[in-house]
Subunit: 488 residues, 2 copies
């Protein structure tokens, strides 16, 4: 069943055809592309450039050597010698039918033909083809080189084997086939997209919202969930412990409200409710609401954090919130002359623990980093102001093990300073019995926000540092300060 | 304008009220909750537990001390002394009106009342209230403690100041207010959600797809984009260089096709097209299609990688694809005598980044820890066997900054060893330009699994270590090896 696909013919090189070209090429498959538009080479080149950049970030797994791209002058030339054909011409039935008829007459008889159509029926598209049994709709989503979904829909004359062969190829290039159980206009995904899009246009047409407000209503809310959970699983969770039946019973009546401009409403018959409930149970596969909630939350956290890296959508909201939290964090309850300072307490979190049952070494540094942040707030450093201190060097010693849920605290001793540098010694204790678990000696360097270079801290900050230095001058130097690593 | 909110009264403690409780408490605000359901305490407790876990992963920024949660026996008792009231009772107009009437009569006169209703009109909800000018809809999304969107909609009697005060509070607790320009049933987001949900039910009712297939059609495709871009910006990009006008002209006719079961279609008048085009231009704010494509792709990559960590949706597809790529790739180029060894590559993940836009110092140690793990595998240490090496001391130097999505790698040099100890020097480079970002000198100690004490490693392991030591003997000692910290 597994075809060895070395060369793919693409009929059409617009946004979708260009996206297919990029995905096939990056998966080591040669591409022969036909498009009568002289701008196609530029479009495909741009998509390929985008795709190379995206794959470089997407995965560390070793990709095969990139395939070669050639342009063909006719559909017949493109399909000659190809192992698979993907058609992505404009959405006009006559155009697609003529193209598929001509190309199928020229191709090897066993080659599968897939169409990227987003809504036309395969039974009609395959009507004029040579050997129509090898035709199937393979409908991708933009950008084709990144989104995994591809809808497969056969027509009346499509051989089941054709669907299996196309699905195997799509899987091999990192996609997720969804095989339709029925031939319908617009398949499944675009019917959902169209429903949302029509309502969005109504909202703008009625001046209820602008296009930016409609988009915000999606991307700051439900859109974050849709990245990993569709409506049904989401609503199963919203139904709480009682699950899907409860949700439908509670919210079903709202379907009859004249809320949207979309007036044709499915009747919630007993049979439909039973079907939804049974299918939802199957989808949940025994996972409890609590388990599903945690999966949802973990995914949301990762999605929002991912978006923060690009200052986009909900990630930008998180970044702004964090700036406010940093600025608002209260000065500790301590006095500047406490010796040593005790500015940070924490509880060992379950996800700090590695397979040995101990906190991962990096989590110790995380706690020490929090203690440093607390010290900086304590001496009046305002990260939104003129500058901040960065860690340039850290010497960690591990003396005992922290375990999950233990309460710990850090003491901080100032060992030295000048107008740019702070030399500090943190000690991490288990609070219950005051056992020393680890220590971190650090050198911090003040960086000026405007120049990005090392520079003196503000006079008020240096004054607070000097007060702490006075108070800490009487402390003895910790045994582990000034260590270097070596086999002695 | 900025109220000092110390105590919030919540009327209703179900999934939404419990989510509000969690968000307020984690933001240091005390909560007084009224719910006649004896199960409310359990629901709220579960939400709070979920939220603590999620926030612990969401942000490294310092959260204020958690607020205190108390349960009130009556609505009047809950609002007494509260600075803000959030009502989240079941979606029945009569019930909400009575609750708001009773609570508003007992509350301080200046306190804002917000309702979590997902569709009822504020003009009707505020009708029986004492001082109705202080009422506004503040409609959140589940889970309230993670999703930033909150829709604000005033009624006929709502004072503009009320909306501003509610928005300021929501912003302060990390949310993203969307203020509606008109009072409409179901506001904006739920009209979009309803449109999608009705079409989803049609697909199941007509047996075109199962609930799992509908969800897959969302989460493997457009749902990944909706996490950061709504329909309008997505379609602007799909229109290519010609932008929104081209997209509407090309795809507008499809609105008239009888694809979905939703028959009421907005007429694409010239006026509507102009409005959409002008608003889309404003939304794009001068960014070219190429810029928007790259933002979209960067966000998609981060979202998919984030989901991979939980083996969810498109992330699970990526993981499966990577396993296939790994299995198909030729064996690695590393030999035991490479000097230095290069055993670990990584991409800087979005959640490594702190509020300064740089990787948190603890994440560098995480990467070095992974490099140490790779070294231990390389020398044949089997953690399920007789013992393993533990880090006892680490000296980190930070030389340059890593940013999100950069590819990095670690080289490892063996500086010394005996039968219990390994003295290693890791160097972390940005792969693109081979710039040294950081180094970590480490002393590792072998611990016997049976006794839990330091002990010699297995002979086979020591033999591999000796081979590496031979190969590394010719390398010069790194400049930064053997350092101690001090003001010089």
């Amino acid at each position: 069943m597994a075809d060895e696909i070395r060369t793919v013919a693409l009929l059409g090189g617009g946004v979708i055809g260009g996206g297919w070209a990029a995905r096939f090429l990056l998966n080591g498959i040669d591409v022969r592309l036909y498009d009568p538009d002289p701008g196609a080479a530029r479009t495909v080149g741009g998509m390929l450039e985008n795709a190379r950049r995206a794959y470089g970030r997407l995965t560390l797994a070793p990709l095969p050597s990139e395939g070669s791209l050639t342009f063909a002058g006719t559909p017949e030339e493109a399909v000659s010698g190809a192992d698979f054909v993907q058609e992505s011409a404009p959405e006009r039935e006559g155009l697609k039918r003529a193209l598929l008829a001509a190309a199928s007459a020229a191709a090897d008889p066993d080659v599968v033909f897939a169409s990227s159509t987003s809504g036309l029926r395969p039974t009609r598209l395959q009507a004029d083809m040579d050997r129509p049994g090898r035709f199937v709709v393979g409908h991708p989503f933009n950008p084709v080189y990144l989104l995994p979904l591809v809808e497969l829909c056969g027509g009346e004359r499509t051989a089941p084997e054709t669907i299996e062969r196309a699905a195997a190829l799509y899987r091999a290039i990192g996609m997720r086939p969804l095989v339709l159980r029925k031939e319908v206009d617009a398949f499944v995904a675009d019917r959902l997209l169209e429903a949302l899009w029509r309502e969005a246009l109504w909202l703008v047409a009625d001046d209820v919202a602008t296009v930016a407000e409609v988009d915000d209503a999606i991307r700051f809310g439900a859109g974050l969930r849709w990245a990993f959970m569709g409506s049904f699983l989401t609503y199963r969770i919203a139904g709480g412990e009682a699950g899907m039946r409860h949700f439908i019973e509670q919210f079903g009546p709202a379907l009859q409200l004249p809320w949207t401009r979309l007036t044709d409403v499915p009747e919630l018959t007993g049979e439909l409710v039973e079907r939804v409930v049974a299918q939802s149970d199957e989808q949940a596969a025994g996972r409890s609401i609590r388990e599903l909630e945690r999966l949802r939350d973990d995914c949301l956290v990762s999605v929002i954090q991912g978006l923060r890296a690009h200052d986009a959508g909900a990630g930008a909201v998180l970044a702004g919130y964090e700036r406010v939290l940093m600025a608002a964090a209260p000065p500790g309850p301590v006095r500047a002359d406490d010796a040593p300072l005790r500015l940070h307490d924490a509880v060992v979190q379950p996800d700090w623990i590695d397979y040995n049952g101990h906190a991962h070494e990096s989590r110790y540094l995380h706690v020490f980093g929090d203690a440093t942040d607390a010290l900086l707030r304590h001496i009046g450093v305002d990260p939104s102001g003129g500058g901040s201190y960065f860690t340039v060097e850290t010497h960690l010693s591990h003396l005992d093990q922290a375990r999950a849920q233990e309460r710990v605290h850090v003491t901080t001793q100032l060992l030295g300073h000048d107008d740019k540098r702070l030399h500090v010694f943190h000690a991490l204790y288990r609070t219950e019995d005051d056992v020393l678990l680890a220590s971190a000696e650090q050198m911090l360097l003040h960086v000026d926000a405007r120049t990005g270079r090392a520079g003196a801290a503000a006079a008020e900050v240096l004054a607070r540092v000097a007060r702490i230095a006075d108070a800490h001058g009487a402390l003895s130097r910790p045994d582990r300060a000034g260590r270097s690593i070596g086999l002695r």
